[in-house]
Amino acid sequence: MLEQIEGSQAVARAVGLSRPEVICAYPISPQTHIVEALSVAVKSGALEHCEFVNVESEFAALSVAIGASAAGARSYTATASQGLLYMIEAVYNAAGLGLPIVMTLANRAIGAPINIWNDHSDAMAVRDAGWIQLFAETNQDAADLHIYAFRLAEQLSVPVMVNMDGFILTHATERVDLPSQEQVDAFLPPYAPRTYLDPADPVSIGAMVGPEAFTEVRYLASLRQHEALSSIEQIDEEFGEVFGRRPCGFFSSYRMEDAEIVAVAMGSAVGTLKDAVDDMREQGVRVGALGLRTFRPFPADAIRSALSGSRSVLVFERAHSPGFGGQLSADIAATLRSVEPTVHSVVSGLGGRPVTRRSVASAIQASAKGELGLETFLDLDESLLKREVTELGTARRSSATGGAVAQIIESSGPQGAR
């Protein structure tokens, strides 16, 4: 049914429709609206056969989900940013134990400096943990992907993280088509684990594995991630049959047919990219957009064939590895090492800075003219950088970076401004 609804409420409804059995949560912005709505659903009795546990930390939140999942219950939690880092030991553990937990990550920057707004630093911090990581472009995507995630997780015994941009999606009211309970039940059968903590058939879960078998355990984990690629194609098809809208697959493609330049992003910025592509197409630039939905497992073959005809690839990435560069562009560059296009990293939208249509267009224009560097910080405010340098130490004010960083800026100048 079509509704005007906040992203978080839509996700809460989708999670509720998935009949979770244990939900645990600890408050952190911007995911709180989701678990608040779920707690109301459980407490009011609207969501039956479900336990809602208010825990004392994110570490406990995911640990409770681990226990619940190992005992055979469909388990869900949500977090963001610092909360994800606080539970990171359990993030790796859940994947290692092969527990099909679904977690919303309402993507948010990581401090210091403390920042509650959106970027993808949190998702990148756990990209190697062994979870499947999906990114929602819209709130429709976000709602759909949660139902989808339970199915995918349980089919493969792998935890799934559904990424949705904090505030930009979680707090935005949009039109969302929420499915009926009958549709969800037709798509998502009850969770029936092959192995769980059962007194009738005792198992030991979480044994110590030494050098003689650890490599094999990791190899199998990698194999399962690769299997996920074919599972995703199959589940996409079934999802389309049940809900009448087929998910985009590994990524969405927009005006890619003859594109020389391709703009790539994950999450809500994809919509902006599409707008900018329209603008640049009007000016005669042959540009297209690719919105990556499936980040882990990384659909390398599909990305290679989608991008191999282009001349340059602009990766608009909301995270940055200091001392190296963007993580997403590195993955894409590794995928394209044997084919032509040059991969440009456009670091954009950190800590909630809007990725605007105009800025995206300016980067595409620079690329068309061959003027775009290999790494660019989009919309870098040079006057703010200068002020940080000149005012620091001379006036009583708050500092985000400390004097040492300002000194470096002073001596070397900003890199790759607009």
Binding site: E21, V22, C24, H49, C50, E51, V53, N54, V55, E56, S57, F59, A60, S63, V64, A65, I66, G67, A68, S69, A70, A71, G72, A73, S75, E89, A90, N93, L97, L197, D198, P199, D201, P202, V203, S204, I205, G206, A207, M208, V209, G210, A213
Partner: protein, 333 residues
């Protein structure tokens, strides 16, 4: 198989042999129906108090639950010596997740069972002292505070033995560990540090808290069975000597456990809803020196000559416990 009574004595103790008791009074361990929850083949050291305590506690919990039980185990010796892949010594459903989260994993299992209407299956979470009083304390306190239906058992050997005997928040004053070495002007652990988890558990006003030692295993069984008669959060703190970490003879594990109680250094008691309901009285009061001397972790207190001042400070701790809990006969509680 014909019934064959098992003779079960603890020589030198006050425990009555099972043969002299009626069947319903005999220990869980004396029964052929015991579940051997922790069975043979594990890699614990000789004289390991933790293996002994875990076996008795879990078999008692199994009987009390009608064999309907799930266990969450923290990282530590108990986890390492029981489950070297692909082997396991557990004959019960058992999970190890992380060092600091066994209480939270227990909470999750209990929540799963409740959502599925399977409350007849009971949950036990367990850890060593590090996984209880230090790294696992947050989730444990959360589990207590929410009164989740989990029995948490701490096997306290008073240091991080699995990683090579480092100091924990349960390490007693003057004890030598690898990180509180017997060097400098104040050798061993400092006085005035450490936390008393049974009292902290009681402050949460959970239904049941008890302490026990592996010297009185029938008492441990009784307390586990009692704990299983309650729902909600329950806590049992078991003193389990570690020959490796304490520098004691493997054959002294039971004797040292008894001495810890008989000196007053380890009060053995029960509490319900935050109030002490019973204490195990000291039968033959011993000076702390007799408990300290057989342990190499305290040898700096006796060489080159006895450090009477430090021994006196440890005696004062025992004396305080004795008056606080009324551990001597003739005293209340």
């Amino acid at each position: 198989m014909p019934f064959q009574p098992i003779k079960f004595y603890q020589t030198g103790s006050f425990v009555v042999g099972n043969r002299l008791l009626s069947e319903d009074q005999r220990s869980v361990q004396s029964s052929q129906a015991r579940t051997n929850s922790l069975t043979l083949g594990h890699r614990a050291c000789q004289g390991c108090g933790e293996a002994l305590g875990a076996r008795y506690a879990l078999d008692a919990a199994m009987r009390a639950s009608g064999n309907q039980m799930v266990v969450a185990n923290a990282t530590g010796c108990l986890e390492v010596f029981t489950t070297p892949f692909p082997e396991t010594s557990w004959q019960i459903p058992w999970i190890h997740s992380l060092f600091g989260n066994s209480a939270a994993v227990g909470t999750g299992i209990a929540a799963a069972l409740r959502s599925k209407g399977k409350q007849d299956i009971r949950v036990v979470a367990q850890a060593g002292d590090g996984g209880t009083v230090d790294i696992g304390f947050g989730p444990l306190s959360g589990m207590f505070e929410r009164n989740d239906d989990v029995l948490f058992i701490c096997y306290d050997n008073e240091a991080y033995m699995n990683t090579g005997v480092q100091r924990s928040g349960a390490t007693p004053p003057a004890a030598r560990t690898a990180t509180t070495d017997a060097v400098g002007p104040h050798p061993g652990e400092d006085f005035g540090k450490g936390k008393n988890l049974p009292l902290i558990a009681m402050a949460h006003e959970i239904p049941y808290v008890a302490t026990a030692t592996v010297a009185e295993l029938r008492d441990l069984e009784y307390k586990v069975e009692k704990a299983m008669s309650f729902h909600g959060a329950r806590y049992i703190h078991v003193l389990v000597p570690c020959p490796l970490g304490w520098g004691s003879a493997p054959s002294d594990t039971i004797r040292l456990s008894r001495m810890a109680k008989e000196t007053g250094l380890f009060p053995v008691f029960e509490a319900e809803g935050g109030e002490v309901t019973s204490v195990s009285k000291i039968r033959h009061r011993l000076p702390v020196e007799e408990y300290l001397r057989p342990q190499r972790r305290y040898q700096h207190l006796f060489r080159p000559q006895p450090d009477t001042q430090t021994i006196g400070r440890i005696q004062a701790i025992a004396d305080k416990n004795i008056s606080r809990f009324g551990l001597l006969n003739g005293e209340p509680k």
